[in-house]
Amino acid sequence: MRDLEKELTKMSEHFYKTDVSNQSKSAIYTGIEQAKKRIKRKRRAMQSMIAAAAILLLFLSSIKISPTFADYISRVPGMQTIVTLLNGDHGLEDAINHHHLQKLDLSQTKNGTTVTIDSMIADSDQVIFFYTIKQPGKKINPQLNDFDVKNKDGHSVMGAAEFNYLLGHGSKNQSPIHDRLSVSLDAKKLTDPLYLSLIFKMGTWTFKVPYDVTKYEKMKMSYPVHQTVSLEGQKLTVQSVTVYPTRIAVHITYDPKNTKQITHLDDLQLVDKQGRGWTPPDGLVGTWSNENDQTFYLQSNYFAHPRSLYLRLTRARAIDKSARYVTVDLKKKKLVGNPAAKQIALKSIRTGVSDHKNDLTLRFAVHVPSIDRHSGYGIFDITFTDQSGKQYDTRSEGTEMFSKSIHYEIVNIPNRNYKGPITLKIMDYPERIHGDVRIKVK
């Protein structure tokens, strides 16, 4: 008869006798470093349709899939991985249901590492590649440093882009790794084929990808709208809605005479009379041509064929145009010019905390309303000026969610001999304007 209590006591003794690895502390340090990297998110994608940019997809919401789709994927080998990478985007699920996923199986091996472009979903606005990296026996983190999509004349056709290397087991260097790369396309330059280059730390892989320009050009529904509405007196014009198989693009312009700069439309969505709604995907939600010209993305209803479509909007983030600049005296470590941006305070300026040891790390406390407690949108532009008017680039930016009501906005800048205080521009701000917009699109 075994004595449970005795065995549990023995178990306890055995626990304390277990040797601790001499690498356990360094595992902790590596983990902390990894967390810092995950927190840092460069705001590059909201720059320009043409500039090559990458943002990390943050997988915040749980994945819900429809029963029909669940049935479909259970019958197709390898689909489970792709479904995880779709991240609950119902428009993309629909595209796959309608056989819009194109098998590619393009594979190349270099120095023992095999990269395979498994498949893609494409239209004339975007192409989403699903790819796999296999490194038998290796434990190298295949960090994707850069990527590009070029046409057959060698010109880049890539606009804003996003990828996610954290999916699944973020810190585990496991093989195979499955990932997704979504690339916005410059419709005017498309050719068949396109060339996709993936630049990893350990080398560059280039693939020739078939792209049927004529077929994809036809796959869209455009609805010109040209209607002007206002939220608390700030005017915006919905120019057009274009439905592609992979997403819906809503083109919006703001009246340059507005007293506030609208920075983001919070709850923009399309609805139909049956009560169905199409909201932004988790990931790239918009691009700018300039501050008064934005394109927002929603999950696609291309294959859902709604009979009616209405655009709904009740709130937007906006900041007084007179309060858009924050001036910081680096020597006195003080905010010297901050007339109206009440939500922002300078907490500290330090050196030695960034990856570049000499960089100055500016830490701002930003008071956020509860609606923003989980959002980490960047507050500042990635360029700044000194008193001579010379423009500089920040090294990196990040957001730390300190508490429910305070986020820390971190800006790292090279430690140079700036002339006088520096001026940072506010690009997004946790204050809102409200209204009740409903526009018939279709």
Partner: protein, 174 residues
């Protein structure tokens, strides 16, 4: 035995002072490593676990409302990570392969058996048994740390132990 964090220390850590946070993690590294090792049974996986849990803790430690509970919270994250990892490993394992890590020397068989039985319990029972037997918490400390009534802790402990006894009895019958 319970090494609680002082409020002052924790508050400073909450402000993401990296050095202090690292100190906090380092002060628990042996216990967390041992916990991981007892689930995963090899140094490599235990180190991976420690790395991932440090990463998760760093990102989310602001969610811990009370400084006293931070260590229990880390233990809980580690247990959940290890259980997920074991599930993942089972899924990934080819049917005909018998991994070395499950082969145990005869003299350790009983000890590891009971441990494996504990690791197979529902997470709510497992947590309480491990806090008591691995980490030497008293029942009232467990109640306070998990923010549940002492009665619930006792019930869960009894239910957990009862399940273990039943499993041992079944084993003897065979």
């Amino acid at each position: 035995m319970v090494n609680k964090m002082s409020g002052n220390f924790f508050n400073r850590v909450k402000k993401r002072d990296d050095q202090l946070f690292t100190d906090l993690m380092a002060s628990c590294h042996s216990e967390l490593y041992r916990l991981a090792w007892h689930y995963l049974k090899n140094e490599h996986d235990a180190l991976d676990a420690l790395q991932e849990v440090s990463c998760r803790v760093y990102k989310h430690f602001h969610k811990v409302e009370n400084p006293k509970y931070v260590k229990t919270w880390m233990i809980r994250i580690m247990i959940n990570y290890c259980l997920d990892e074991l599930k993942r490993q089972r899924k990934a394992m080819p049917v005909d392969s018998v991994p070395d890590r499950f082969e145990t020397p005869p003299d350790q068989a009983a000890k590891l058996d009971i441990e494996q039985l504990v690791h197979g319990l529902d997470e709510k029972y497992q947590l309480i048994i491990l806090l008591k037997y691995y980490h030497q918490y008293t029942l009232s400390e467990i109640a306070e740390n998990l923010d549940i009534p002492l009665g619930t802790v006792k019930t869960r402990l009894n239910h957990g132990l009862e399940r273990l006894r039943n499993q041992l009895d079944r084993e003897e019958e065979h």
